[in-house]
């Protein structure tokens, strides 16, 4: 008798948990919105990046990538003309040019000690570095965001949220890099990535979305 009562009590106690499971199986669409509202800007942008990075952003980068061997001489002769023909269209008048480029080159120098680690790469065979490939974990700038035309500033709450998007993209790109240890000097690397160029004389700091050692 006592045992029956106890069993019944246990079953009753379990009931809310069982019904709780049903809610999880059939989530209310409002729950997702509610959850998003509870997140910080960082968390919300990290979630957005996790959602679009592989299915959308990587194919976009592959589609837009121009040969670095064509991009560099074009920039050297006329940045605006290079931007018009090979760059991503500017979002607004005061924006710098953004480029998506792919190619390969030889590592001339590298710094893998810094938190902002990078490889200096020669792509035209003159033994001088033409660009730096950022390896992170600290990746500078907003090139990945600004070269991606499906991220539109108007769709974001404000500059703060939009800045966190750039940061989340950089973090994702940095985390995805898998290359061997060491200075890699003299080795060939192939890459696809984005960079911003406010002025013709500025150094090119590429954020890679694909990076591999060996030609």
């Amino acid at each position: 008798m006592t045992r029956t009562l106890m069993t019944a009590t246990c079953l009753l106690a379990l009931l809310p948990m069982v019904s709780g499971c049903k809610i999880v199986k059939n989530p209310d669409p409002n729950d997702a919105e509610h959850a998003a509202a509870q997140m910080t800007d960082e968390e919300r942008m990290a979630a957005l990046v996790a959602e679009v990075y592989e299915p959308k952003l990587l194919p976009y980068m592959d589609e837009k990538a121009q040969e670095i061997g064509a991009v560099l001489p074009a920039i050297a002769s006329d940045l605006n003309a290079a931007g018009e023909s090979l760059g991503i269209p500017k979002a607004s008048e005061g924006s710098p040019w953004n480029f998506v480029a792919k190619g390969e080159g030889v590592v001339i120098a590298s710094n893998r000690e810094s938190r902002a680690a990078k490889l200096e790469v020669d792509v035209n065979g003159d033994n001088e570095a033409d660009l730096s490939i950022q390896l992170g974990p600290v990746i500078k700038g907003t090139a990945l965001r600004d070269a991606t035309s499906f991220f539109v500033f108007t769709d974001f709450r404000d500059q703060i949220e939009f800045a966190k998007l750039a940061r989340a993209l950089n973090d994702q790109a940095g985390a995805a890099i898998e290359i061997p240890e060491g200075d890699l000097v003299g080795q060939t690397v192939s890459f696809t990535g984005a960079f911003s160029l406010p002025r013709q004389s500025d150094a090119i700091l590429l954020v890679p979305v694909h990076l591999a050692v060996g030609g």
Binding site: A91, S92, E93, G94, V138, V152, D158, Q159, A163, P198
Partner: protein, 313 residues
């Protein structure tokens, strides 16, 4: 009673008419509303917008809201009542401004925002703002270099209701916090104000006499901080501002403040008027609503090329 009220209404109408110029120009009226011109940044915006509007054949009325959302609301009412063709606005609060801009939109008057964003999109036609995050990162990189990547520093924050205060601080720290030997010993708002920054800086100095640098959310606060440091005989402290004002330019050229970041305020205001003109004539600006304009580092190398928030090449 009735006559009395009518008289009052007429008096009001006359008052408005008196405050506004006559509609002599062919293209109609553009209202330009900014914070107080005490800060030369906002004055440059007003001058830039006014010059471009006149060039394009508009009449202008220039008003200031003094960062008071209620006053801004009244200014919107008077711009609506006077039948303005467009409103150029540097607003008095990201949240509080949305309803005023919506009211103008409902009355058929498009608003073109500069410098500061509002928290809604689809209400204003354009929101053209400086890329404060980019600018703050550029300023912070210079600050870290000047500091030799180490030492105690203080940060002066802007007005909390203004998105630009938060975004600049965020941009500063995304750079500075990557240097473990940079230590922030004080962080306080001085509400964009020169006099407030002077007082805050005095207090910060008393609590942290070994401070090596100050990074400020704008130039007026940097000027206030610099005055306090000078008064305390601490001209060795590295100060970096944000805006690119002529005051800070002169200080840089005299070896005082070390650097600032130029916001292209003059061009930004002109661009807003150009987009307003295009919208009035064609129904579209041809641009996205929200637009970012890059900022430029100003230091001893290029300060002499700076004049009224524009950099000569």
């Amino acid at each position: 009673m009735n006559i009395h009220r009518r008289l009052l209404v007429s008096a009001l109408a006359l008052g408005i008419a008196g405050a506004l110029p006559s509609f002599a120009a062919a293209e109609g009226l553009i209202a330009i509303i900014t914070p107080s011109h005490d800060n030369p940044f906002f004055k440059a915006e007003a001058i830039g917008a006014e010059a471009k509007a006149k060039e394009l054949g508009y009449d202008t009325v220039v008003m200031v809201h003094d960062d008071d959302a209620n006053k801004q609301s009244e200014l919107f009412d008077s711009a609506i009542a006077s039948g303005a063709k467009a409103i150029i606005l540097d607003n008095a609060g990201a949240d509080a401004t949305v309803s005023a801009v919506q009211r103008a939109k409902d009355a058929g008057i498009p608003s073109f925002l500069i410098d500061r964003e509002i928290t809604a999109s689809g209400v204003a036609v354009s929101q053209i703002v400086s890329n404060n995050y980019q600018g703050a990162q550029v300023g912070a990189e210079e600050f870290v270099t000047l500091m030799g990547e180490e030492g105690k520093y203080a940060e002066l924050l802007g007005r909390e209701s203004d998105t630009n205060a938060g975004i600049r601080s965020s941009g500063y720290h995304d750079v500075i916090d990557q240097y473990p030997d940079m230590e922030m010993v004080a962080q306080q708002s001085a509400n964009w104000s020169q006099t407030e920054a002077y007082t805050v800086m005095e207090t910060m100095l008393q609590a942290n006499p070994d401070i090596k640098g100050v990074i400020s959310g704008n130039d007026t606060m940097a000027m206030g901080a610099w005055a306090a440091l000078k008064a305390a005989g601490r001209e060795d402290v590295i100060v970096v501002g944000f805006d690119g004002s002529n005051d800070v330019r002169d200080s840089i050229l005299e070896g005082g403040i070390k650097a600032t970041v130029l916001q292209p305020a003059y061009r930004q205001a002109q661009l807003a008027v150009e987009q307003a003109d295009m919208y009035i004539k064609t129904g579209s600006t041809g641009a996205e609503e929200k637009q970012l304009m890059d900022c430029v580092l100003i230091n001893g190398d290029n300060a002499s090329n700076l004049e009224t928030f524009a950099l000569a090449n």
